[in-house]
């Protein structure tokens, strides 16, 4: 069913929804951007419709709702680990199509990889209802069409916001009663059909080409350019890596929390082992590791999609203006070069 609501009506519906749901959406934090007098848009629990940032893409992805940057796993004493509790309410999350697709990648790792299901992810994901945010034309760093993530029908509701009103499509039966009194209107979301930014992920034909690609000098560029801050992976919709650590309460040093904190393969120390062994020492190696994971290794393991939804947040957030799209293009050129030289060698 389709509806047209004023923001005031939406607020009243939000009021009643909040008895059962936490509502999470991208929200603008004025003056909180990286640079002075710029804003940050990130997910937060919201209470009113006008808190939702509809007009710009968020800097940080929707994954933060289900896997917060810092999450408590256990409360411990010297002789016991007690599991932390999740929110009792269901979760209504405003997401764009890229974030919906990214959720499948999160699920792949947290629920399926190794046939272990992570109970912290599971207990949250079971509560989720998706409100799909229509993107209009998208933004200049988006390449969702190239990654095939521009469309989805996996949502409980969809929304388009205009200046005075919002249009909603309600598919989920549990949500329908909240909107009974609203004026009906024809609405189904439209999707971005073309991005100005396009990416063609190269096919890596064989293991020999892959091995050569790993050694290719293209990665050396990043030794100088990348500052290894990890902003790309923390802004990434699909990255899942984390580190587990214990914190001790100051008041009682025998008690504390075991927490999970987002980690980044781009930051030094990601591979450091006790005893001083380090596996990727340079920014170039770390970039090679990330890019190949996104555009080769993940698909090689799970045999379905590349681990990138083309949300472009890594491009927007990189303080050194490194573009993943340009990097994939460079990789494609390197693959062509290696393949050609292999053919030439084979022809000798």
């Amino acid at each position: 069913m389709g509806y047209k609501l004023s923001f005031g009506e939406a607020d009243r519906i939000f009021d009643s929804l909040q008895k059962e749901y936490e509502i999470w959406a991208p929200k603008r934090f004025v003056g909180k951007g990286r640079y002075s007098d710029t804003d940050m848009i990130r997910y937060d629990k919201i209470h009113r419709a006008d808190e939702i940032e509809f007009n710009e893409k968020s800097d940080f992805p929707a994954k933060e709702v289900l896997t917060p940057i810092t999450e408590t796993l256990f409360y411990f004493t010297e002789d016991e680990y007690r599991e932390s509790k999740a929110t009792k309410k269901k979760l209504l999350i405003f997401m764009r199509p890229c974030d919906v697709h990214a959720k499948y990648h999160q699920e792949k790792i947290y629920l399926e990889n190794g046939d272990f299901a992570d109970s912290y992810y599971q207990r949250m994901s079971e509560k989720v209802k998706i409100v799909l945010m229509e993107c209009g034309e998208g933004w200049d760093t988006c390449f969702c069409v190239s990654m095939g993530t521009n469309r989805t029908d996996d949502y409980a509701a969809a929304v388009r916001a205009e200046d005075e009103a919002m249009f909603l499509e309600i598919k989920d039966e549990e949500l329908a009663p909240y909107f009974q009194k609203c004026a009906s209107a024809r609405f189904t979301p439209s999707f971005v059909e073309e991005n100005p930014l396009q990416v063609t992920v190269p096919e890596i034909p064989n293991k020999e080409v892959l091995t050569e690609l790993k050694r290719h000098p293209m990665w050396d560029e990043f030794d100088k350019r990348c500052v290894s801050c990890g902003a790309c992976t923390l802004a990434c919709s699909t990255c899942t890596c984390f580190t587990t650590s214990d914190i001790v309460y100051q008041e009682n040093s025998n008690a504390g929390e075991r927490k999970r904190t987002s980690a980044s393969c781009q930051i030094e120390g990601f591979t450091d082992m006790a005893g001083g062994i380090v596996f990727r020492n340079t920014a170039g190696e770390r970039m090679r590791y990330k890019v190949l994971h996104k555009f080769h290794d993940y698909k090689a393991r799970f045999r379905d999609f590349h681990m990138c939804v083309g949300c472009g947040r890594c491009i927007s957030r990189c303080p050194e203006l490194i573009s993943i799209a340009a990097t994939v293009d460079k990789m494609a050129a390197a693959v062509d070069e290696i393949t050609a030289s292999q053919k030439a060698e084979g022809g000798k």
Partner: protein, 349 residues
């Protein structure tokens, strides 16, 4: 050539005497160092028509036109009326009229600024907006003062070498839950700022708030937005910096974490303070020397008159300047040579 020119009077109109007798260099003010590019055409026109065809970038960010002949000054003054009108009157809102007679005074020097946060990734403050507001308060006035506005404590604007250095800062806000303990902020603070951050045992950040300079390096590098600027725009103000043959010195920390209202409230008192200190007779005395003559404590009483401090504000109780004296002990002199401050005995009668 036989000349009879009152060079002091010409200087008051912002024309500087040349070693070539009868030639002068016009210094056009650019408060905040940003103007529309179209004005450059007018500047080029003056250089080519009345100057010697060259152009000098003024060290206080003025647009300098050397080689203007004394007899052409009236014509040049008529030509720059429009520039003064557009820049000082309209852009800065100075309480003055643009006339056919050029700049009304050279007193308060051009308010300098770095490019600030309108462009610079490090900037915390919109420096040229601030500079224009200061220009409105200190110009036109015969009382000398040198002000520079820097967007961040890196101080590319050399605020530290001005009587007043206004430096954009922010309190930095830490979000414990968004911190991933990567330590980038610790490294950035160590290498670019004052090293007030440490990574603690729990993989989170400890801060020594005392020595934070409010530069925002932590917020710039933080990959998660765990550090962000408090949106409240604050300033650090240094006092008494100067260059010079006798006692060049760096300014000292005067105000910290003050709002724009405090900064402007203080500048609004500058002319009144100067008038009082010079016994209501403007003379060519550098603002910094004026503060020296009065003494910091007395200066503070005047300059803070009616100023309401924001809660975060920190104010110098006293200032201990360390001068780079070119000749040692030149400040030691017979009592008769000591300079007088405050109303004279006659005027106080």
């Amino acid at each position: 050539m036989n000349h009879d020119i009152d060079v002091k009077k010409v200087r008051t109109n912002c024309f500087r005497q040349s070693k070539v007798a009868g030639e002068f260099m016009l210094q056009m003010r650019v408060p905040g160092a940003v103007i529309d590019a179209k004005h450059l055409k007018a500047v080029a026109e003056i250089c080519e028509r009345w100057g010697n065809g060259s152009f000098h970038m003024g060290t206080r960010q003025t647009l300098d036109i050397p080689g203007v002949k004394y007899e052409n000054i009236p014509e040049v003054n008529r030509y720059i009326k429009q520039y003064i009108e557009e820049v000082d009157v309209k852009l800065c809102g100075c309480d003055m009229e643009a006339t056919e007679y050029g700049y009304p005074t050279i007193g308060a020097r051009n308010v300098m600024a770095c490019i600030g946060n309108a462009h610079c990734i490090k900037g915390n403050a919109n420096t040229y907006e601030m500079a224009k507001k200061i220009e409105k308060l200190v110009f036109p006035s015969h009382y000398h003062i040198k002000v520079s506005v820097a967007g961040c404590p890196n101080d590319c604007a050399k605020a530290n070498f001005n009587d007043f250095g206004v430096i954009g800062v922010n309190k930095q806000v830490y979000d414990y839950d968004r911190c991933i303990g990567c330590g980038s902020c610790v490294d950035a603070c160590q290498s670019h700022a004052t090293g007030v951050l440490t990574l603690n045992e729990n993989g989170k950040i400890d801060k020594d708030p005392c020595c934070c300079v409010g530069c925002g390096e932590c917020s710039l590098i933080c990959p998660t937005g765990g550090w962000t600027r408090d949106p409240k725009k604050l300033y650090r103000v240094t006092l008494g910096g100067r260059t010079g043959k006798q006692t060049p010195r760096s300014g000292k920390l005067f105000l910290n974490w003050v709002t724009e209202d405090v900064v402007l409230g203080m500048f609004a008192n500058w002319q009144k303070f100067s008038a009082w200190a010079l016994d209501y007779k403007p003379e060519y005395l550098h603002g910094g020397h004026l503060i020296d003559r009065v003494g910091y404590k007395e200066f503070a009483k005047h300059i803070f008159e009616g100023v309401e401090f924001n809660p975060e504000a920190k104010v110098a109780d006293d200032i201990y300047w360390a001068e780079n004296e070119q000749r040692s002990n030149i400040h030691v002199m017979p009592l008769s040579q000591h300079k007088h401050a405050g109303p004279s005995e006659e005027s106080s009668k």
